[in-house]
């Protein structure tokens, strides 16, 4: 790790003030610190945002669940309110990494990082999330731009994410056997009129699978996806999963998601 200046931000305003071309916000540090230790990245200034009060907390209303950016995965997983309102969201958080990662890693860090195999982006899309930042609100579908790429500006801080509460939902992750990130992850949310099937891990960035949504509109059952062959063209391919295998896993995960939707 290369040398850097460390700043302890007490407010969102202060955090933004500290930021520069060569700075990074430090949240759970589960991605940032390893990449600095491996010398894949280095910064002149590290701004710790973990202790900013305004970024903490979980608020559940009748329609939505609003979670502060520095909420740890373990907090989301164990929150009784989240478990009740959107059980799929708490189970997603409870399935991220291992206990150590869940006790450090945060929602804001995860979505700001936008790893193509991260879990949370799929929840944001399926749950029509609003992403609150230091100076605006962004709809989830406009937030995730590409692989490790978001709508955030350099000095812009995610402050909270507001998820709408669906009728039913479920998240199924098929883990990469080595890293246990999502080889594919499917977040399925069923609303009164709408069904959203958000897929992570399969392509460079989270997306909605229209084919699956269409099939489920006709008949919300695992069997309705039995003969579905997804287009493999845009699928990621690596040593763990070729494009056609990933395409097939998306269907398998979606079928499980339908079966466990609650």
């Amino acid at each position: 790790m290369k040398q850097f200046n460390f700043h302890e931000a007490k407010s969102v305003k202060e955090a933004v003030k500290f930021s520069s071309k060569n700075s990074a916000f430090l949240s759970g540090g589960q991605t940032l610190i390893p990449s600095m230790k491996l010398r894949l990245s280095s910064f002149s200034d590290i701004i710790n945002i973990k202790n900013i009060k305004d970024l903490k907390g979980i608020k559940v209303s009748g329609k939505s669940v609003k979670i502060g950016a520095v909420a740890k995965h373990a907090e989301v997983a164990s929150s009784k309110d989240v478990q009740k309102a959107i059980p799929a969201l708490s189970s997603l958080a409870g399935g991220i990494g291992d206990m150590q990662v869940r006790n450090k890693g945060t929602l804001g860090g995860s979505i700001a990082n936008n790893d193509p195999s991260a879990c949370y982006p799929s929840a944001c899309i399926a749950l029509n999330a609003i992403i609150y930042t230091s100076n605006r609100k962004i709809e989830a579908k406009k937030f995730f731009k590409g692989m490790f790429e978001t709508a955030l500006k350099k000095d812009e801080l995610v402050t909270a994410v507001e998820f709408s509460i669906p009728e039913k939902s479920s998240y199924v992750k098929i883990p990469n056997p080595a890293s246990r990130y999502a080889l594919v992850g499917v977040f399925l949310a069923k609303y009164k009129k709408d069904i959203i099937c958000a897929v992570t891990g399969a392509q460079p960035v989270v997306y909605r699978s229209e084919e699956i949504e269409k099939a489920l509109h006709n008949n919300f059952s695992p069997e309705s996806l039995d003969d579905l062959n997804l287009v493999t063209e845009d699928m990621n391919a690596d040593i763990h999963a070729s494009a056609d295998y990933r395409a097939s896993l998306v269907v398998s995960a979606a079928q499980k998601a339908v079966a466990h939707c609650k």
Partner: protein, 791 residues
């Protein structure tokens, strides 16, 4: 006193390891210490045109940047292959020069170019970025299968062939095949593995310019041998002024048996710079530069009679050595492999040919089981295939071919002293409820899952090794072991062993032997190992040898102590030596109340004389002190054997395999501490199941290691395993007085074929290791495609 041997004594070492008080090499920091990082080749194969260290040398905190030329100037020798293999045409194996720091060329990603030494690790890393190496990148040879038809890596080593070795009677085996009713053929791939010890390697060199002593702290399974090699071949420092300390070592699995370039370089650098130099390997560095394991491609065939009797076996293997031949690299795919391909079957004739090739990959050397897992994998896979092709029950077919008479001289090398293969096989079938399998299979099918059952039986040659035998086969050293039992005047005991404990719990097991032998309490026995300045020269720990060979040396040293004690007791008790009996720590004259405890004898031996009394308790002419050394050279290998049965459930939708049950019944001879044995089995099974389903060191065609971190190299986790069902049978070894056979490698040897036979049984088509979900899914897809075509 209750017998310690055979009881589940709590481990003496648990307290320190479980409370974070282990003292590993990385925990050691010396006064005035410098930090080192290696410059490593990013290319699999390249010529070094120039190395520019000027900028790095001027960087802040840098003390020196050392390169191959500096080592040459100091006449530091290269690394060696310690076991000479002779090719079938009578020529010696061909090993390229292997300088610790490359001078002209690099031959794998991670190969050593230079060492940056600085005041802090940070400064060393920063400076390393400033070293400019000009490479002429060459086409890499990365494939085991293609190595013999590719560019020559090392000048003068044609076809990249180190040796072309054979074992067995070819003519007789050909004859068996021409007389066979049926021949079964099979292609086998044994995947390359990264050992992944929990503690990455580390070294600290420390030179004392006053005493001219050089000390190397290092992560070694074998400090004595490391010192010998570094003195005799690398000329780092003379042996008598060279101390190698392997403190607590966090696992080795073979990968820390042999001295590495890093050891030589760090020791030399400390001497050169006259300051302690510390290097601690990072994880990806360890993936790239630790020796790997396995990596065989094999064609084999089995000759059979109609009734299922095996009449012959042919094996044709290409073994990948990597970029250079490491210390035990040449014996692993030959004498540790070839003789074992017979498994525990009575096969009258066999022929085994092994071609060892160089490629531009990390060196491959002994890894848990070393040769024996590869042998067991091929025989157990082809036995399964043969049973299926003959339409016989796979269990019956195996039993039909078991060796039943002991001692049994096999047609290749080994003379197996003892065993009862039906006993463990039957016990395993029972424990695994083989008869209930069809019912369980139907239950799985009802859930849409495919269930399979797989068997694996094995023998391994452990207790490595009888010196005369191994030296006649090309070993550079004999493989005896040493021990010293040193009674201290106050009656407690220091036990010195030449073996090394790095997860095997020697502190406990060896103390149990001494406690029983000498009647001393466990807490009064301390095992000393891992330091060439303490205790006699020894050969280290690998090949499930420590107990059978090292433990026996300890038992023999105890016998010598008892013998001397009897003489002293006789004098003190005014009795005849032959009258004295030793039991539970007491020397007694039977039918009298005359006795002396061993503590009293020890005291008398060290303080021969009492105040006011001139009379010595020692017999005339006897040396004072109570300390005995024993060297033990085994008369034969030991032959642990066992039967493992695995049941898997495969999800055809995702290809994922779940190991549902795993049963093993092993015959390790006598068990000293069954709890520790169980731990060894668990670890071995985890690694073997890991090889079968998850682990794979994958090089792409340019020789880049794609799986160089845990993001891509899949280690098995606890949740990948069921509760293991473990049981034993026992036929004591006759080759050592303890009757022990060794248990350290069995799990890793037996489990890959058990798992793979189960997977293949479940999916009804072949798949190679590791049977990842993706591969199984593809195999099933292919299968249904060709079924559709056929229909």
């Amino acid at each position: 006193m209750a017998s310690m041997i055979g009881s589940k004594v709590e481990r003496k070492e648990d307290k320190k390891f479980l409370t974070g008080k282990g003292r590993y090499t990385a925990d050691i920091n010396l006064h005035n210490q410098l930090h080192a990082v290696f410059i490593r080749s990013p290319h699999a194969r390249a010529e070094i045109k120039s190395i520019d260290t000027l900028k790095a040398k001027k960087a802040s905190g840098v003390v020196d940047v050392l390169v191959g030329k500096d080592m040459q100037d100091d006449k530091i020798g290269g690394l060696i292959a310690g076991w000479k293999i002779v090719s079938k045409d009578g020529t010696d194996m061909k090993c390229p020069a292997h300088p610790p720091l490359a001078t002209d060329s690099v031959n794998y990603v991670g190969d050593h170019i230079g060492l940056v030494v600085a005041e802090t690790l940070q400064e060393a890393k920063d400076a390393a970025d400033l070293v400019k190496v000009d490479y002429r990148v060459l086409k890499a040879v990365a494939s085991t299968a293609e190595a013999m038809n590719s560019d020559v890596i090392h000048d003068g080593i044609e076809k990249n062939l180190c040796f072309d070795w054979e074992l067995g009677d070819k003519a007789k085996t050909d004859e068996a095949f021409s007389n066979a009713d049926k021949v079964v053929k099979m292609d086998i791939l044994n995947n390359r593995l990264v050992p992944n010890a929990m503690e990455p390697r580390a070294s600290i060199g420390d030179y004392n310019s006053s005493s001219e002593e050089l000390t190397l702290y290092t992560t070694s399974q074998n400090p004595h041998l490391s010192r010998l090699v570094m003195s005799a071949f690398n000329a780092v420092h003379p042996e008598h002024k060279f101390r190698v300390i392997a403190p607590d070592v966090g696992g080795g699995f073979g990968s820390k048996i042999y001295p590495y370039s890093e050891d030589v370089i760090i020791a030399w650098a400390a001497k050169k710079l006259q300051r302690p130099v510390k290097w601690v390997c990072e994880r990806t560095e360890s993936f790239l530069s630790d020796c790997h394991g396995r990596d065989h491609i094999t064609k084999c065939s089995l000759a059979l009679k109609k009734d299922g009797i095996v009449t012959g076996l042919k094996v044709d293997t290409i073994a990948n050595l990597g970029g250079y031949a490491s210390l035990f690299a040449t014996v692993t795919p030959t004498y540790l492999y070839g003789p074992l391909v017979l498994g525990l079957y009575n096969i009258p004739t066999a022929y085994c040919n092994v071609k060892a090739v160089y490629t531009n990959t990390a060196p491959v050397d002994a890894y848990r089981g070393a040769g024996r897992p590869e042998a067991t994998y091929l025989i157990e896979r082809i036995m399964d295939k043969a049973a299926k092709e003959l339409g016989m029950d796979r269990a019956d077919f195996r039993k039909k071919n078991f060796i039943r008479q002991f001692p049994h001289q096999q047609c290749l090398v080994h003379n197996i002293d003892s065993g009862d293969y039906d006993a463990h096989f039957d016990k395993a079938l029972n424990l695994a409820d083989y008869t209930g399998f069809e019912k369980r299979k139907a239950e799985s099918a009802a859930k849409g899952k495919l269930r399979g059952i797989g068997f694996s039986t094995y023998i391994e040659a452990c207790g490595i090794a009888p010196s005369a035998a191994v030296m006649s086969l090309g070993a550079g050293v004999g493989l005896w072991e040493s021990a010293e039992i040193r009674f201290n005047p106050t009656g407690n005991v220091s036990v010195f062993t030449g073996t090394h404990s790095h997860g095997q719990s020697h502190d406990t097991t060896f103390a149990q032997i001494v406690a029983d032998k000498l009647g001393v309490l466990m807490e009064n026995i301390e095992l000393v190992h891992g330091d060439t300045d303490k205790g006699p020269f020894g050969m280290g720990t690998y090949g499930s040898r420590s107990l059978a060979v090292g433990g026996t040396a300890i038992a023999k040293a105890c016998d010598k102590i008892i013998e001397k004690g009897k003489a002293v007791a006789a004098k003190m008790l005014e009795a005849n030596v032959d009258e004295i009996e030793f039991k539970d720590g007491e020397f007694i004259v039977p039918n009298t109340n005359k006795k002396k405890t061993i503590g009293e004898i020890a005291f008398a031996c060290y303080l021969p004389g009492t105040y006011g009394e001139i009379k010595s308790p020692l017999p005339e002419g006897m040396e004072p002190g109570l300390k005995e050394t024993a060297f033990y050279d085994p008369v034969n290998f030991s032959f642990p054997a066992g039967s493992h049965i695995c049941e898997v459930e495969v999800d055809p939708a995702t290809g994922e395999t779940k190991v549902d049950t795993y049963t093993c019944v092993d015959d390790f001879g006598n068990l000293i501490n069954p709890m520790i044995v169980e731990g060894q089995i668990h670890g071995g099974l985890a690694q073997g199941i890991g090889q079968a389903l998850y682990e794979n060191a994958y090089y792409d065609e340019t020789g880049q290691l794609v799986t160089a971190s845990y993001m891509d190299y899949c280690m098995p986790r606890a949740d990948n395993f069921p509760e293991f069902r473990i049981d034993y049978t026992c036929t004591p070894a006759t080759s050592n007085p303890l009757g022990v056979k060794g248990c350290g490698e069995a799990g890793a040897i037996a489990s890959p074929p058990a798992v793979m036979n189960a997977v293949v049984d479940a999916i009804g088509t072949e798949v190679t290791m590791p049977a990842t979900a993706q591969k199984v899914w593809k195999a099933l897809k292919e299968k249904s495609k060709s079924a559709k075509k056929a229909a």
